[in-house]
Symmetry: C2
Subunit: 198 residues, 2 copies
DNA sequence: AACTCCATGTAACATGTTACATGATTCG
DNA sequence: CGAATCATGTAACATGTTACATGGAGTT
């Protein structure tokens, strides 16, 4: 049930509508959890039913009404309790890794292309994280920020996100180099056994 | 449908029973995909139905019979096709990150403890990966291995796994240091707003 | 006129988790 | 004698994905 707690944690940063949350949890932006809009709308219903969030309907002039959610006292208790509960280590589930694992029986050019795309994606995410970091630090050094700021959680997960993307980039770069070496090596690429399908 | 292709990719390393596969895909070992035994048994049924694997029932003397699976020609075609298909960037979903994000409203000691446990877990995985790497290299240098070995996919994902765990360890270490600085800072920990639940 | 943004949802499906059940064998 | 390992599964549930639907406002 970690989606539930991820939503509560996100609401610590301030109240939000489902739509606003769906942007914070967008896969291309999220640094501590990601979820689709549909998951969020469903979960927000449940959180409301469980009394873990407060809801206010905000009527808007030239826009559809929105329901603005904030964390309730019961929600804060629930979130506190969550931090004391065990969590399992995360599962590796990345299609790109499967492609790389299957490289020898797959289309090496296609995998190389996919690696390049992932590299660009990581670069984009990193740039966003860096902008966010600059905004958080607001001119202060990290040491200053760490001492002075009220909250530290968001900064720490942001750092995690940055390091993760940098790490991805290093891995992809290393893989691409190795693939370049191998494609330039005497031995040609072995034709794929099926010989072309249909 | 990446589980399907992960299983096919795993079978490139040789035939296996469901039970054997479940060990390769164990969350504490897997370096390119993880899955529970139940998922694997279900998926192997489907792969069999779709003709993507060959199945041989091996009768054993003092053991229950086992069904040994290997990738079929159709399976190789399917896997090849998969390497040309787009995959989405992976979703961040780690309960530990949620805890860290919620640190300021949570139990800092419990989160610190969880970070320590994750650090140990990462260390263990790294050690396993290192042993696997030594076995793969079999005394050769990486450069030699890259030039000479038939397959490269498994080595590359292994490298990915190693780098990922090292990266996790660096992040956790940095977080623990920052938390140590903050807990030693003038300002005491703010009591949690709910004040104790129930 | 077409497209994107705001704002919400439903329905159907695919995937992943947890608990349980069975039964022999080997290890300490 | 109890625990771990080998080997397979079923059932129920929780979570996540995809496609679609609605409708006004602003933008090109």
């Amino acid at each position: 049930m970690a989606l539930r707690h991820a939503v509560l944690a996100a609401l610590l940063e301030g109240e939000a509508s489902g739509y606003e949350l769906s942007k914070r949890f967008d896969i291309g932006v999220a640094n501590f959890w990601s979820a689709t809009p549909q998951q969020l709308y469903r979960e927000l219903e449940r959180l409301d039913d469980a009394g873990l969030v407060n809801v206010v309907v905000v009527e808007q002039r030239r826009r559809p009404n929105k329901r603005v959610f904030s964390i309730s006292d019961a929600g804060l208790d629930e979130l506190y309790a969550f931090t004391t509960q065990p969590t399992r280590p995360p599962a590796m589930r990345d299609g790109l890794l499967v492609k790389v694992q299957a490289l020898d029986a797959g289309d090496a050019d296609a995998v190389t292309k996919a690696l390049g795309e992932r590299l660009a994606h990581a670069q984009g995410k990193l740039a966003r994280y860096d902008r966010l970091r600059d905004r958080l630090l607001a001119g202060r050094s990290e040491a200053e920020y760490v001492r002075a700021s009220e909250r530290i959680g968001p900064y720490l997960t942001l750092m995690g996100g940055r390091m993760f993307e940098q790490q991805s980039m290093r891995w992809i770069t290393a893989v691409l180099e190795i693939l370049a070496v191998r494609s330039g090596r005497g031995q040609a690429v072995t034709a794929h056994p099926g010989g072309g399908r249909t």
